[in-house]
């Protein structure tokens, strides 16, 4: 016990150390790298908490996909500070502010009468130099107050954790009891796809909306076009090799993860995340260009998963058990089928979220009408 506990303690210390690094690192890029490592260690912690499904998700989505987004952002922000672009295919931000060059980059406020102009905020705008990560921290007293208050929150939570050390109320029993009726062995999947399927369904809508939100940041003239400032040239031998070798394996793994999700850790998200990783690799290696966001096929594929889930849910109305219930005889195949479509859509959505808004104008032919 003590050795395991020691290992746990070491892991916790590492996790916390990285957390502090993320907060305190000198540059944004360093902090992001720290965060990716933090996520991977956290996945270990999830394993130690006997939550294999969560560990997979954390590693794939929490650390992997999130990391990809953050690294790309940090590079772009840094690229502005150091002129030579350090990431293939990413140029300097296109318009370092032609609009605010006309003297409007004074700190803004939202109001003010015409007669007596209100004071400017004491904000730290003058310290915001493009690309510079540091500077502009709030004053010492503010930081002290922040420390005290967040310390109080931590103390409260820690007190509760210590106070209620005993076993917590649990739905594990209830969750396992009904699994056979669904033809499943993995209780987490059972919760996600059956007991709390409404949450999962709504969360699919959240994903769609997030994608819509990211796409909404496309400039009007490139609407319908492809993400990334320009096509990534196929070069860089090692990356190409990796991008040719890994995807077939990845796809097999993803299908496996999806399939075992019924009984063991795994499922739509995890499988989808692995597919996403493969796809991003292929895109980065320049083997396949990112798809245009105006593509009809892409839109249909993205919507297919949530639509299938919705359709199955609504079909439940013909059953006595109602919306989002599965007839016992075909529960398992039905669930697997829904999950398969979902996996594909999730992979696409996650990948597109990483790729970001369109930055290249579409071919006239591929514009959606």
């Amino acid at each position: 016990m003590s050795l395991a506990l020691l290992a746990d303690g070491a892991l916790v210390l590492l996790v916390l150390g990285l957390a502090f690094w993320v907060n305190a690192a000198a540059s944004g890029f360093a902090a992001v790298v720290g965060y990716v490592a933090f996520g991977l260690l956290l996945a270990l912690a999830w394993m130690r908490l006997a939550a294999g499904d969560v560990a997979l998700t954390e590693a794939a989505v929490g650390s992997g996909a999130t990391g990809a987004v953050l690294v790309a952002a940090a590079m772009r922000l840094r690229a502005a500070a150091d002129p030579p672009p350090s990431w293939p295919g990413v140029s300097r931000p296109s318009t370092p502010n032609r609009r605010s060059a006309d003297g409007r980059d004074t700190p803004g406020h939202d109001g003010g009468g015409d007669d007596l102009a209100p004071p400017a905020p004491y904000s730290d705008s003058h310290r915001d130099v493009p690309g510079h990560d540091e500077g502009g921290k709030p004053g010492l007293s503010l930081r002290l107050a922040a420390l005290v208050l967040s310390g109080l929150v931590t103390a409260g939570l820690a007190g509760l954790v210590l106070w209620t050390a005993g076993p917590a109320p649990s739905l594990a029993e209830a969750a396992t009891r009904h699994l056979p009726g669904l033809g499943m062995g993995n209780a987490v999947t059972g919760v996600l796809i059956a007991y709390r399927a409404l949450d999962t369904l709504l969360e699919k809508v959240v994903l769609l909306l997030a994608l819509g939100g990211v796409w909404s940041l496309t400039r009007d003239r490139v609407w319908g076009g492809r993400p990334f400032p320009r096509a990534i040239p196929a070069g860089n031998g090692a990356l190409i090799l990796l991008a040719r070798l890994l995807p077939p394996i990845g796809i097999v793994v993803a299908v496996y993860v999806l399939w075992v999700g019924a009984t063991d850790p795994g499922g739509a998200f995890q499988g989808g995340a692995i597919l996403t990783a493969m796809w991003i690799l292929v895109m980065l290696a320049g083997l396949r260009d990112a798809p245009p966001i105006g593509s009809r096929r892409l839109r249909l594929a993205v919507a297919a998963g949530p639509a299938a889930f919705l359709a199955v849910g609504l079909a439940g109305f013909v059953l006595p058990t109602g919306f989002l219930s599965y007839p016992e005889s075909i529960a398992k195949p039905l669930i697997i089928a829904v999950e398969a479509v979902l996996t594909l859509s999730i992979a696409l959505i996650l990948g597109l979220l990483v790729a970001g808004p369109a930055e290249r104008p579409p071919d006239p032919a591929e514009r959606l009408r």
């Binding site: 957390a19 993320v22 902090a31 912690a45 939550a51 998700t57 922000l77 730290d124 493009p130």
Partner: protein, 107 residues
């Protein structure tokens, strides 16, 4: 001291660290990172509670675990959207900043 308690304390500290970072870090990208720390701490608390609810042959209560999976995906979507917004702000203003620029004339 059980492992669950240990991770519970870890989650408490992560929440505090996330809140603190959210407050003091002036750069939006760093705020997004701190937000993720805050989120991770919250998820970890779910995990600890799930672990304490181990029963019926399971290592943990599957309900909070499932909630965490949903939560992680939402957190990722949030990160992606926030980062995309930040990059667009940077493109438009040349500064990765949360300072409100003065609105231009218009209805």
């Amino acid at each position: 001291m059980t492992p669950a308690t240990l991770y519970g304390l870890c989650s408490a500290v992560l929440v505090g660290a996330g809140l603190y970072g959210m407050l003091v870090n002036p750069q939006p990208l760093r705020k997004i990172l701190s937000l993720n720390l805050l989120g991770s701490g919250t998820f970890l608390l779910f995990g600890v509670i799930a672990r304490r609810g181990a029963a019926a042959g399971l290592g943990g209560d599957p309900v909070p675990q499932a909630m965490v999976i949903t939560g992680i995906v939402v957190a990722f979507s949030a990160t992606a959207l926030a980062v995309a917004l930040l990059l667009r702000v940077f493109q438009e203003t040349g500064r990765p900043t949360l300072d409100q620029p003065a609105p231009k004339d218009g209805g």
